[in-house]
């Protein structure tokens, strides 16, 4: 599984232990990170002040984050110091139908950020690294889908069976292929609408 972590590099010293905890849980669960900006931000912080973001190539950073979200299966957003970028990426991920876990040490109940409800968005509060790790592990497990082919029983009526048999005969494709293609067409159609 590919995970993208979004966070705020401006408060790196404060957030770093928690960002490392997120990385640790991701790796412990056999997942990989789509774009590791945390190490780059750490290196940047060694040579510059934490507040000095002026020499970062923001065009590239934004483009790479956008691509990383597209590649990722799930998104984790550390939103304790939330602002425009966290909102932008949350929205972008949800529109691409990616499950998003938004974690924060701030109490955001009653704030606008808490009012954004979406079936793929889970907002959780945490206090400690242990607490954070539990929330993350649960989210990753809940969204882990085996990458190998999945099997399940499929009950159909006579009309659908006759249709599948006929199309299978005409095209030389097996019934599973036909159903898969129909579903893929439907997914394409929904994504374009």
């Amino acid at each position: 599984m590919i995970v993208q972590i979004i966070g705020n590099a401006r408060h790196l010293t404060e957030d770093l232990p928690f960002l490392h905890a997120i990385l640790e849980v991701v790796h412990d669960n056999g997942a990989v990170v789509a774009r590791d900006w945390i190490s780059a931000a750490q290196n940047h912080a060694i040579n510059h002040s934490e507040q000095d973001d002026t020499n970062v190539e923001w065009d590239d950073a934004h483009k790479e984050n956008t691509e990383a979200i597209s590649r990722a299966d799930i998104i984790i957003i550390e939103a304790t110091n939330y602002g425009f970028p966290e909102g932008f990426y949350t929205s972008q991920a949800l529109q691409q139908k990616k499950p998003v876990l938004l974690v924060t040490r701030e109490d955001i109940r009653g704030r606008l950020i808490y009012g954004i409800k979406h079936k793929l968005l889970l907002t959780q509060h945490y206090d400690t690294q242990e607490n954070l790790k539990k929330v993350l592990a649960k989210f990753i497990k809940a969204n882990t889908i085996a990458t190998k082919d999945l099997r399940f029983n499929f009950f159909i009526d006579r009309q659908i069976y006759s249709y599948l048999r006929e199309v299978s005969y005409e095209t030389g494709k097996n019934k599973s292929e036909i159903i898969r293609e129909l579903l893929e067409q439907e997914i394409d159609k929904q994504e374009k609408s």
Partner: protein
């Protein structure tokens, strides 16, 4: 043409005149405003001095904004305060292929301290424009130019439509039920 304007409630008293200038420029250019939340927000502030952000029904507000974004032609953001909601709505608008104009006052002390301005400067989307302003005159000029740019791409066509009897009947039924206008159908 129809547009949606968003801003921040954080320093609303400082921003309101600028937001109103945006709305006035839209009116002067015959652009419809999708939702006038500004007067309601100003009125609420007057009535509830020291009001809490927690007293709003944020979910309803977010849902309203999302549905508006899908129906408008463009989004204008008074973005001097760079908040989460503005980021969220900007991404929705761009995803729905709606041009976004982000406006900010770079002479605000807060702006100079704000890290999000750098992030915003990195959004290299063809439909995203970010411009600084200082005065209300600057705003009128920038918003006016934004509208002109969009108007050049928007064409209203008048066409004659010949319908046969069954098609006319289908059109006429909802009209009589006053569900929709002919144009909308």
């Amino acid at each position: 043409m129809k547009m949606h304007v968003i801003g921040s409630l954080r320093e609303f008293d400082d921003d309101i005149d600028f937001i109103r200038t945006i709305l006035k420029t839209l009116r002067d250019n015959r652009v419809l405003l999708a939702h006038n939340w500004v007067d309601a927000a100003a009125d609420r502030r007057k009535r509830q001095a020291g009001h809490q952000e927690t007293s709003f029904d944020w979910q309803e507000l977010v849902d309203t904004n999302i549905s508006i974004l899908k129906e408008v032609d463009a989004l204008i953001v008074e973005g001097s305060r760079f908040n989460y909601s503005q980021g969220f709505q900007t991404a929705i608008a761009l995803q729905n292929k709606k041009p976004v104009l982000n406006l900010y006052r770079e002479d605000l002390p807060e702006y100079k301290e704000w890290p999000d301005k750098l992030f915003v400067s990195g959004i290299s989307h063809p439909l995203f424009t970010s411009k600084p302003y200082k005065t209300q005159e600057d705003l009128e000029k920038i918003v006016g130019e934004f509208i002109d740019g969009l108007s050049a791409k928007t064409h209203e066509l008048d066409i004659k439509l010949a319908l046969d009897a069954p098609a006319y009947e289908k059109l006429d039924q909802p009209l009589r039920a006053r569900v929709k206008a002919e144009r909308a159908l």
